[in-house]
């Protein structure tokens, strides 16, 4: 660009500098806790109790990580997080798929097949998003007991699906509103029925919001502790409960390095989901979920 004037160019360059500077400063702020966690997980326990909390490790050791993964004791069984990781996967995958699938169907009905009272139904479902979960633990436990699902992973899947529907329905409803009604009408004239339209037309068109819904649900369910601790026991616990048992020591001595390593292991799947699918997350939001 030969023609740029000196002063204008300089002003612009300074502007860019300020922007990048602020962005990087913010990024540093955001990374700070992660940095503390990583460095701590690489220290030995003695070093930490010697007073080194923040700062680089004097000698790097991965002991804490292997301990967290396969040796740390949760109660008297010293299996590390490994089996609970598997539990969580077995819980999160069906729960995410179910709640997303049902949310998609609900959103489809609420936008393309409105019936008398469908707005009320939507309002009722939406309010469920804002329920403080501590309040429903005991009645839910009773219901699970009646269903003979208490203490099991399917029971937990059921609970997460029920409360997940609220948000997924909101997501899909707000997204499907932006898909023109003419599309379903065209399919009707082509002779397609309710489910055919859903599977052939709506589902393929809903990929962005599926990503949003899946990410949101995955994060919420994977990180849930309250339901996990209430509705499972012992071996069938999800990873957050195991993590809590590693971390939340009252009268014992905290193993900070193992805690941090365990926390990172527990967070790994969600981190991966965010980093890999984060792009689609923003895109999906742009595609419709933003609507007030």
């Amino acid at each position: 660009m030969v023609t740029e004037h000196g002063s204008a160019a300089r002003a612009r360059r300074i502007g860019r500098l300020v922007i990048y500077g602020s962005l990087i400063a913010l990024a540093a702020f955001y990374l700070m806790p992660l940095w503390v966690m990583i460095t701590t997980s690489l220290k030995s326990l003695d070093e930490i109790y010697g007073g080194s909390f923040i700062g680089l490790p004097r000698s790097v050791t991965f002991e804490a990580w292997s301990k967290a993964w396969s040796q740390a004791c949760i109660g008297t069984s010293c299996t590390g997080l490994k089996p609970y990781f598997v539990n969580s996967l077995m819980m999160v995958i069906p729960a995410v798929l179910l709640s997303t699938g049902i949310g998609a169907l609900n959103g489809y009905v609420l936008t393309k097949w409105r019936f008398k009272g469908s707005n009320l139904v939507f309002g009722l479902i939406l309010f469920g998003c804002f329920l403080p979960f501590q309040a429903v633990l005991l009645p839910m436990a009773q219901v699970l007991g009646k269903l003979r699902l208490s203490g099991t992973i399917p029971g937990l899947v059921l609970v997460h699906t029920v409360y997940g529907i609220c948000f997924t329905t909101l997501f899909f409803r707000n997204y499907f509103v932006t898909i023109p009604d003419e599309l379903t009408r065209a399919a009707q004239i082509d002779g397609a029925g309710f489910f055919r339209i859903f599977f052939s037309i709506m589902v393929p068109a809903a990929l962005p919001i599926m990503v949003v819904s899946c990410i949101w649900q995955f994060t919420q369910i994977w990180n849930d502790f309250l339901f996990g601790v209430s509705f499972t026991a012992g071996d069938s616990s999800p990873i957050t409960v195991a993590l809590n048992n590693i971390v939340n020591v009252t009268m014992g001595r905290k193993q900070y390095n193992v805690d941090m390593a365990a926390a990172m292991i527990a967070a790994l799947p969600t981190l991966v989901v965010y980093v890999v699918a984060g792009r689609y997350f923003v895109r999906g939001l742009t595609a419709g979920a933003v609507k007030g």
Partner: protein, 365 residues
Amino acid sequence: MATLEIDRVRKAYGSMEVLKEVSIAIGSGDFLVLLGPSGCGKSTLLNMIAGLEDITAGAIRIDGQTVNDLSPKDRDIAMVFQSYALYPTMTVRQNIEFGMKIRGVPAAEREKATREAAEMLQMGHLLDRKPSQLSGGQRQRVAMGRALVRHPKLFLFDEPLSNLDAKLRVDMRTEIKRLHQRLKTTIVYVTHDQIEAMTLATRVAVMKDGIVQHLDEPQVVYDRPANVYVARFVGSPAMNIIPGRLKDGPAGAELLMDQPDGGVSRIAGVQISDAARRKYAGRPVLVGIRPEGFSVAAPGQSAVKAAIEVVEPTGPDTLAMFTLGGTEVIARLAPKAVEAGQIADLAVTTAKVVLFDPETEIRID
């Protein structure tokens, strides 16, 4: 090919009446255009014909059979939507085949029908693209293809051309016209573009606020519009509606219109029934003159005095604006016939002049 009868049909959303007793009947092979401004209920009516909206009152009959309670897929219709409504995740081929697949048409047959439609619409090379990779005109053709492969009794088109640019619009218009001439299928076509209505229709229904204002052949609607609304809506630039007075003289009826300079322009030889002449003699009327109803007067020809204000050359013609009867008037003249600022003598083709009652705004015959 089918006849279509819309018999005293009404539509209300809650307390809001969108269609107020609409009756239209067309024959087999007719091309009906529903013409009207945005929000007048055209799409609603079309959707009711398709079975996509419930009918509040009245009946719709296709080939004599009442279809009020038939679901869309049982009416044997095909529809092209204003926004095309192509399935965004399917290829063009899948879009076209979708309806046949649902009906269980065997693959070989589907293949053949698709190929034929693609050929007719010259889009064989587009079959494997997704709609997002097509231009507006191509999308329109795909939507058309999707309807074509169905060989329905009745085609419904909802403003299929309104998203296209001017050039493409003209091309596609011709293509639709040709299609109709070839297939001879009955067509109902919605538009708010009067040019489309004029070029395509065998019957035009001009609508306003859920009421059919005028239903007739396009040239009749153009030449002898039922009321001022229709006169203004059909034709571009619109018909000039000039306040004037009817004077009954021995030489026949004569129209008087005020010139801005205080003078009075006279038009003699207007065609009008005797009854009307007696009724309106000496009273104000609205004089309807199409822009092309004016021409530069030959010397000595009886003419209107026009102080030309603005001139707009359009290429084939020139539009000239001037004031007459206290209102602005547009004349369509030959290129460079007049210039802005000039005072021109313009002759009026009396055979094409239409009169309206100033109160009811209905045509006087």
